[in-house]
Structure formats: structure tokens, C-alpha cells
């Protein structure tokens, strides 16, 4: 049986100027934009249809934990720059430095999840479950789906840091492309949070 050679797996296409993977990841992000777009649209629709937000009175910033969320914002932003640095290290041929920065990215992602866990468990402790009212329904659904994306990012980045690194020896350029694509996804997850944070916690 032959091995099928897929063109432009690594090298950019002469006309479009990008390899397949990068194009693919951008298309995936486009669909993610529509996924979160639908949730934001629903959020606006439900919120404008209610007399008070949160329904039981007060302000979002009083009901939710702004300091923790601010910390988490800083954590995600930092993990974005470490992700960029991990990719840049690959680009400059420095695998040990890549390991360092990628490790930092994953660690920060875990920090984010741990903080999120404390936020969630506090809410549950108070009986503020998603069923409590639509404020919490929106809060848990949107941050939960975003949290799942963080988990997905940890898995992808973990693969690149662990078994995936083997590709470096065979084809460093291909490996660098993969890191770049994982990075694009990771920055997108950061970007979603940048919108989630003010719209859920501050407004």
C-alpha cells in the first residue's frame, strides 16, 4: 500500500501563502466565533428581556467575585504571552526554552481552572446553581463552555509538550507549525475570556 503524500502539510501553498493546518485552524476558529457568538446573542436577548439583572437584585459585580476573575484574566493573558514565547523559541530553534514556556502555559491554564473551581464551589455552596435563575444559567453555561475550551487547550498543549515533541527531531518546521496552530487556538480562548469577563462580571 502506498503512502499518500498530502501537499502543503508543512510548506505554505504558493498562492494562499499558508500551509493546510493553519488554514484549518482558522476555519475552526471561525466556527468557534459563531458558537460563542450565539451564546453572546442569547445572553443579550435574555438579559434585555428581564426587568433586573441579576434577577434577584444587586449588581453583577457584587454577586460575582471580581477580584478572582481579574486574577484569572491576568493569568490567561500571561499564559497567552508564554504561548507566544513557546512558539518563538521553536522558531529560533531552542527546544529547551520551548519546553519551559509551554510548561508555564499549561501551568497557568491549571491555575485558571483552580481559581474557577473555587469560584464555582463558592457559588454552589450558596445555592447559586444554574437552576437558581437565568443570571447563573448564563454565567455557568458561558464560563463552563469556556472552561471546557481551556481543558481542550491543556490536552493539546500537553500533547505538544509530551509525546508530540518527538516530531521536533524529524521535522522541526512541522512541529513549529503545530505549536503555532495550538497557539492560535489558545489565544482565541484568551480572547473569548476578554469579552466574557466584562460582560459577565462588570456590567
Amino acid at each position: 500500500m502506498s503512502e499518500t503524500v498530502i501537499p502543503y502539510m508543512v510548506k505554505p501553498h504558493p498562492v494562499t501563502g499558508i500551509p493546510n493546518g493553519k488554514f484549518g485552524i482558522w476555519l475552526f476558529l471561525a466556527s468557534e466565533v459563531m458558537l460563542f457568538g450565539a451564546l453572546f446573542s442569547s445572553y443579550v436577548l435574555i438579559r434585555t428581556g428581564m426587568p433586573h439583572w441579576p434577577p434577584e437584585g444587586g449588581l453583577s459585580s457584587e454577586v460575582l467575585n471580581v477580584p478572582l476573575a481579574t486574577l484569572n484574566t491576568a493569568v490567561l493573558i500571561t499564559s497567552s504571552i508564554t504561548m507566544v514565547l513557546a512558539w518563538a523559541s521553536c522558531k529560533m530553534g531552542n527546544l529547551p526554552r520551548f519546553r519551559l514556556w509551554m510548561g508555564a502555559t499549561i501551568a497557568l491554564a491549571f491555575v485558571f481552572l483552580v481559581v474557577k473551581y473555587f469560584e464555582y464551589s463558592h457559588k454552589f455552596h450558596l445555592g447559586h446553581t444554574p437552576a437558581h435563575d437565568n443570571f447563573y444559567a448564563v454565567y455557568f453555561t458561558m464560563t463552563g463552555l469556556h472552561g471546557l475550551h481551556i481543558v481542550g487547550g491543556i490536552i493539546v498543549n500537553g500533547y505538544l509538550l509530551g509525546p508530540g515533541t518527538k516530531l521536533w527531531a524529524k521535522d522541526p518546521e512541522h512541529f513549529t507549525n503545530r505549536v503555532e496552530n495550538a497557539g492560535l487556538y489558545w489565544h482565541f480562548v484568551d480572547l473569548v475570556w476578554i469579552f466574557l469577563f466584562p460582560s459577565l462580571y462588570l456590567l
Binding site: I18, F23, W26, L45, V66, M92, G183, I194, P198
Partner: protein, 104 residues
Amino acid sequence: MDAAQHEDVSKHMGQYYVVFVALLCLTAVTVGVSYLHLARPAAIAVALVIATVKAGLVAAVFMHLISERKVIYAVLIITAVFFAVLLLLPNLTTFEHHSGLPGT
């Protein structure tokens, strides 16, 4: 990796750090503004403008959108149009539904 690429990346390093600091500062600003308890429309405008600037920085610099290929711009423009449709039309329809009819 050839030397040109090497140089290319290291040239950008400074930019990355600047953006990183800017993002942290903007986060601080948006949280700070929220404690001022501005009027609703102003608060929404400020928060969304800051978020958009932050998102723009991440997309432009970290995701290299500032110097990306045409085909990706094309995909993103199409997506942006339909994203706007998705955000606007259901809400406009609902808004008119609630406000435009007698007896509702």
C-alpha cells in the same frame, strides 16, 4: 530554520512584551472603571471598547493577524458579517416584538 526567520521573530519580541503590559493595564482600567458605577450606556460602551481593544491586540499581535494572508482575512470577514447578523437580527426582532405591538 534560516537566519532571516530567526531575526524576524526576535525583532517582534519587544512587541509581544509591550502588548502583554498593555493588556494587563487595560484589564486594570476596565476593572477600575467598573467601580466608578457609570451610567449603564456609558459603562457598557467603555467596557466593550476596552474589551475590543484588548481582543484586537491579542488578535493582531499574538495571532499575527496584522500581517496575515488574504485567504484568512477573507474567511474572517465573512465570519464577522455573519457574526454581526447573528448578534443583531435575533435581538432586533425580539426588541421590536416586545416594543412594537399594542397590548404586549
